[in-house]
Amino acid sequence: MEPILVPRPKSVRDPKRPVSSLLLAQVKHLREAEKNLPSRYQSGIFSHAIQTESEAARYVQAVTEAIHAAHDDAAAQRVRKAPKRKHVIEIAAVADERAERRTRSISKQKKKKGKS
C-alpha cells in the first residue's frame, strides 16, 4: 500500500493571535500554582495582562519550569550526608577495649597496693 500523503500545514505562527478562553484558564491554574512556590521561583510575569497566545505561552513555560525546578531542588536537598556512625561491631570492640582497660587499671592498682 502506498503511503498516504499528509498535507503540510500552511499555517505559520501568529504571535498576535488573541489568547483563547482555554489558555486563559490554563494561565489561571498556573497562577494559583505559582502562589504556592517560594519567592525565588516566581516568574515575575504579570499574568493578568496576558492578551496573546505568545504571552500566555511565555508565562506557561516560566511557571511550568519553575514547578519542575522546585520539585527537583527539594529532591536534591533530601539527599544529605548521613552522620558518620561506628558500626555495631566497632562499637562493641570499643566497649570491649574500654572494659579491658578498666580491668587492667584495677589489677594495676591492686598490684601497687600489694607492693606497698
Binding site: 499528509v6 500545514p9 504571535p15 478562553s21 489558555l23 494559583e32 511550568t64 519550569e65
Partner: protein, 412 residues
C-alpha cells in the same frame, strides 16, 4: 485461541481538542453506512435566527472560519443540546447549535458555519485511521461542558462535581490513573507527555503541582517509541499554542478553534507513525479521542447515564438548573488503533472519558476500590486479559497481526 489482547502491553491515549464527531468523521457515512455520520439526504437541520432550516454542509475550513471560538461552556452547551428549552420534561433534540453561535455575534450568516463539516479528503489521517481500525459511533464527552472538566474524567474518572474551568481539588480517596499505576504492587509505569513546557498540561492544579515526575515531553515520547521504552500507559497532550521553541516556531496542533486543523492531522500522523515503526507496535494500542465537541454540531443526542459520586450545585452550571452528572456531553471522534483490530470495525456501545481510567485500571490492575460511580459504570474499550473480560467485546480480536496497516508520509 490467542488474540492481539494477549500481546498487549502498552496503551497510549492522544486527546485532541474541541471538534465533534459529525464535524470530523460525519462524511464517512457515505463510505461506510455503519458509521453514524451525515449524508446530504439526512433530515437533520437547525433553525437559524430567521427560522430558516440550516443543513450541515461539507464546507469546513482548516482555519479562519470558526472565529470567534464557539461557546462550549456549560450554559451554551445546554442550549445546543436542548434547543433552548428549560424545565422538566425537556428533550435533547440537538437543535440549538446555530442559535448558540448566533448569540455570540448576532450574525445570521456566520452562525450557520457551526453546521459545516470536513470532507473525507480534507482529513486523510483521521478518516483513514477511522476506516482502517475501530471507530466509535457512541463516544461522548463526559459532561456537556468545557475542556478542563472533561479532561478530568480522563485522568480521575470524575470532575469532582465541577462543570467549569476553574482549578478543582481532588477529593480523596479518588486518585488519578497515574497514581494508581505507579503506587500499585507490582508497580506499573505511566506518563503524561505534554508537547513542551510552553504548552504544558491542562492538569496543573493537582498533577503538575504535586507529581512532576509523571510528566515528560512529546520529544521524549517519540524517543521512547523509537527505543521501545513506552511506559505501560501514556497520555499525550497536543500543543495548545503558537510559540517559540528550541526548534524554531511551534504551531498549535490541538485543533481547538481557531487553530489549524491540518497541524493536528500532522500530529496524529506522527504519533501513529512512530508507534507503528517502533519495536512496540505489536503490543501497543493507540486511542485518538477528542475532549469535547467545541460547540460544533452533532446529530446524536447524548444519552442519560448513571449519576456521578459528585454533583454540582444549582449555581455552578449557570443555567439555573441543578446538574446531577446524569447526562453525557456531545459526541466526539474516537478511534482505537492496533494491528490486531479488523479493518472497518465500528463500535456502537456507549463510552465517555471515564472509560479511559476504567479501561487502564482494569487492564493493568484488575480491580481498584476507590473509583467514582461514573467510572464504575463506564464500559471499557480494551477488555482486561485476566479472565474477567467479555471476550465478545474484545476489539483486538485477530489471531494474526495485520500486515496491511496504512502508512503516512508528509508531503513536501
Amino acid at each position: 485461541m490467542t488474540t492481539g489482547l494477549d500481546q498487549l502491553k502498552h496503551i497510549v491515549v492522544l486527546m485532541m481538542e474541541n471538534r465533534s464527531f459529525d464535524h470530523m468523521l460525519g462524511s464517512l457515512k457515505a463510505v461506510n453506512p455503519a458509521i453514524d455520520g451525515y449524508i446530504d439526504s439526512d433530515p437533520f437541520t437547525n433553525l437559524d435566527a430567521n427560522k430558516n432550516p440550516v443543513k450541515p454542509q461539507a464546507l469546513a475550513e482548516f482555519q479562519g472560519q470558526l472565529d470567534p471560538d464557539p461557546d462550549h461552556h456549560f450554559p451554551a452547551v445546554d442550549v445546543q443540546i436542548y434547543g433552548g428549552a428549560t424545565g422538566p420534561g425537556r428533550v435533547a433534540n440537538m437543535q440549538g447549535f446555530v442559535t448558540s453561535y448566533f448569540h455570540q455575534q448576532e450574525d445570521v450568516g456566520h452562525s450557520q458555519k457551526i453546521m459545516y463539516y470536513f470532507k473525507q479528503s480534507d482529513l486523510p489521517v483521521l478518516t483513514t485511521l477511522a476506516l482502517q481500525f475501530a471507530v466509535f459511533n457512541r463516544w461522548f464527552a463526559s459532561i456537556p461542558g468545557p475542556t478542563i472538566c472533561n479532561r478530568a474524567f480522563a485522568h480521575y474518572g470524575t470532575s469532582f462535581g465541577r462543570v467549569d474551568m476553574d482549578p478543582f481539588e481532588v477529593i480523596e480517596p479518588i486518585k488519578s490513573i497515574y497514581t494508581r499505576l505507579v503506587t500499585a504492587n507490582p508497580k506499573h509505569s505511566a506518563k503524561v507527555y505534554y508537547y513542551d513546557a510552553a504548552s504544558s498540561t491542562m492538569e496543573v492544579a493537582n498533577l503538575l503541582q504535586n507529581q512532576t515526575e509523571v510528566f515528560g515531553t512529546y520529544a521524549q515520547f517519540l524517543s521512547d517509541c523509537d527505543k521501545g521504552l513506552l511506559p505501560d500507559y501514556s497520555f499525550i497532550e497536543p500543543n495548545y499554542s503558537d510559540h517559540d521553541s528550541d526548534d524554531g516556531e511551534a504551531v498549535a496542533s490541538d485543533q481547538h478553534p481557531d487553530h489549524d486543523v491540518q497541524a493536528g492531522e500532522a500530529l496524529i500522523a506522527e504519533v501513529y507513525t512512530h508507534i507503528k515503526n517502533g519495536p512496540n507496535w505489536a503490543n501497543t494500542a493507540l486511542l485518538v479521542v477528542y475532549d469535547e465537541h467545541g460547540a460544533i454540531f452533532d446529530h446524536v443526542p447524548p444519552p442519560a447515564c448513571p449519576k456521578d459520586t459528585f454533583h454540582s450545585t444549582q449555581v455552578d452550571p449557570g443555567t439555573g438548573l441543578p446538574f446531577q452528572f446524569d447526562r453525557l456531553g456531545v459526541r466526539v471522534p474516537a478511534i482505537l488503533i492496533s494491528p490486531w483490530i479488523p479493518k472497518g470495525t465500528v463500535v456502537n456501545r456507549v463510552f465517555d472519558h471515564a472509560s479511559i481510567p476504567a479501561t487502564i485500571t482494569k487492564f493493568f490492575l484488575g480491580s481498584y476500590p476507590h473509583v467514582s460511580l461514573r467510572e464504575a459504570n463506564a464500559d471499557v474499550f480494551i477488555e482486561p486479559n485476566n479472565g474477567q473480560g467479555k471476550l465478545a467485546n474484545n476489539l483486538l480480536s485477530l489471531d494474526a497481526m495485520r500486515d496491511d496497516c496504512p502508512d503516512f508520509k508528509m508531503s513536501s
